[in-house]
Amino acid sequence: MTTPSTSTAESDDAVRLTGISRAYGAFTAVHPLDLAVPAGSFFALLGASGCGKTTTLRMIAGLETPSTGTVHLGGQDVTALPPYKRPVNTVFQNYALFPHLDVYENVAFGLRRRGIKSVRKQVGEMLDLVQLGPLARRRPHQLSGGQQQRVAVARALINRPKVLLLDEPLGALDLKLRRQMQLELKRIQTEVGITFVHVTHDQEEAMTMADTVAVMNAGRVEQMGAPADLYENPASTFVANFLGTSNLIEAEVTGAADGILRLTRAGQELTLPAARCRTGAAPGDRVLAGVRPEKITLVHGDDAEAVPAGRNRISGRITASSFIGVSTQYVVDSPVGPDLEVFVQNVERDTRLVPGAPVVLHWNPEHTFGLDAEQDIDAGLDAGSDTDTGSGSGHGGGAARGRTEPGTGPGDSTGSTDSTDSAEGAAV
């Protein structure tokens, strides 16, 4: 046993990764990474499959040996410790319940390994917490997916770990149950106050549950912050596209004054608060101006005069619309780009807004964000949520475009992640 070495790691961080990386031969799964997870928080590592998020989690658990760097748990350097000596527990993606033990013994496993004799009270309390008391004597294969998932959580939580690691714990559940378990996990986390580190590829799941989200891409953390902050102020095209949907318009800076950047693209003038621009922009530079689809108001071309002054406005023509219950998604062809997406709440539906209709898009310039135009404008598109049915239209010139070809009808029910985003966004 190594004695806890008190190093520079601050003790109020439950997890602190310093320069941690993992390489498999020539392939680097995780690039050197610094990460601090405050104690008691619900932290999500979000990214597409293969982005290194699970490897990072496994390095915290000790199931994977880092190539470089150190892992601190609650101020203690555990880099050299095997998993069974680390004060963390994991909820595995496939639950990995012991098939030869019943629910009770599965939950009691960790306590018994630590030589605790009377486990009855603790196991009973834990089973009550996850509402599985009556099923204590069932074997895992006699349980539904959601019940197995709760056993996995209980089995890990009963040990009161410093950190609970969750590796895509809801991946195997259907949508409805997943929603329910998201709330359940959040409730449990609040109740027990243990730090949760949650790995997921589901951006909605991450935003619903986590206090802090780190978006990972190709072995690096692209951006880290509160869900709303990430959503409103993406730092890269990857985050803008992966987290929800963004309309990105490549435009030229024509002027900067009073903290306002003036942009132009195909004769359309846009303004962008300089504070919301992630890249230094001088007149003549190119930037990507982004706006979320639900921030945009859509009016018919005949009502163009009604648009208040001082708003960013683009005129175009509807090419497609799809009705998604709470909202309607429109794709608009405009001089600045062929596939601008607009989500409109179905409060009062304007019957004139049909494909082919001339429209004006307008939004508060405050809702525009600016990104470095040197990036791949499509980053994060294919890696995004399951709504990505295709890469949309190909466009070499980096024109503005929306994210997806909308579904051909309301049957595109998997689009619910996006429609919920729009609902939340519009409710703000």
Binding site: T90, A96, F98, N159
Partner: protein, 315 residues
């Protein structure tokens, strides 16, 4: 339910529009017959080669007579008692030898099966082939080869003599003097060697099915590698342990080749007695009675064993 489901699958030739109910019933009846048809060959095989000889031997065991006058069924059950009282040491020896051989197979086979299942990586298939490879030569040849290996002037015996290992084994009573052949050790070694693959293969099959992620989960829950084995891997491999021990113990306890070739008259097992009663003494009733006693004994031992093992954490 199945009958209804069978409807749409019935051949289009059936006069469906007129009387769909009839066609469906016919299809359902056909479906019910299929499993029995598939069983036919196996059942016939069992009847001819298992049930018929069994009945024949059962009748032989209660016959009396001589070879010259012929044997008649006289329901002479005393043969069983006589056979048991005369040959019980052979029964005991058979069970002890095959029991020890089974334990040795488990001790040797488990680490091997474990290594193949979890650690062999790309060598897995090669090692498995090596395990099965001895089957490409006959059982008899292999046992004869052991006779050569353990020969009194052979390198193995002289090596063991030089190390004074045989002094120890002689003191334990499993060898005699400075030889290995014609001792219990030789017979048990032969049995162990010959039945080892029957232990390894079922062990491998059940270990290979153990999800490696369970090891990670147990390690994550504070189990040391040894505890992981004791509490997770071994219990989950119990089906393989049971299958392997049965596949080793049952044929080993009826075996006579190893005792014949590697042992002496003092190491004769019950198989040797049955063989000589059938083929040399030509006392068919005693031979048949011995066979049935052996069957009963094995059945009893196996039932007891499964009862014991069944109370463990068998999946």
């Amino acid at each position: 339910m199945t009958a209804a489901a069978a409807g749409p699958l019935s051949p289009p030739a059936a006069p469906a529009p007129a009387e769909p109910g009839k066609a469906q019933r016919r299809a359902a009846a056909r479906r019910r017959r299929v499993p029995y048809l598939l069983l036919l060959a196996g059942v016939a095989w069992l009847l001819v080669f298992f049930v018929a000889p069994l009945v024949y031997q059962a009748s032989t065991s209660v016959q009396t007579g001589t070879l010259e006058d012929g044997f008649k069924v006289t329901w002479h059950f005393a043969t069983y008692w006589d056979a048991l009282t005369e040959y019980w040491p052979h029964f005991v020896r058979s069970l002890v030898y095959s029991g020890i051989a089974t334990v040795l197979c488990l001790v040797i086979g488990y680490p091997l099966a474990y290594t193949i299942a979890f650690r062999a990586g790309r060598w897995r298939n090669l090692v498995l082939i090596l395990v099965i490879a001895p089957f490409f030569t006959s059982f008899l040849i292999r046992t004869l080869a052991w006779e050569t290996i353990l020969a009194d002037q052979g390198p193995v015996v002289s090596f063991l003599n030089d190390l004074h290992v045989l002094d120890v084994t002689s003191w334990l009573g499993i060898t005699e003097g400075d030889r290995v052949l014609a001792t219990p050790l030789a017979v048990v070694c032969g049995l162990t060697y010959n039945f080892l693959p029957f232990m390894i293969l079922p062990l491998y099959t059940s270990l290979e099915r153990v999800d490696g992620r369970l090891h990670e989960a147990a390690g994550d829950l504070y189990a040391t590698p040894f505890t992981v084995f004791r509490k997770v891997t071994f219990p989950l491999s119990m089906p393989g342990v049971v299958a392997g021990t049965l596949l080793t113990f049952i044929p080993a306890s009826g075996d006579y080749i190893n005792a014949e070739l590697l042992g002496s008259t003092n190491q004769q097992m019950i198989g040797n007695v049955i063989e000589s009663q059938f083929l040399r003494v030509l006392d068919y009733p005693t031979a048949a009675a011995l066979s049935f006693i052996l069957m009963a004994v094995i059945l009893a031992v196996v039932t007891l064993y499964i009862r014991r093992a069944g109370t463990e954490e068998l999946v």
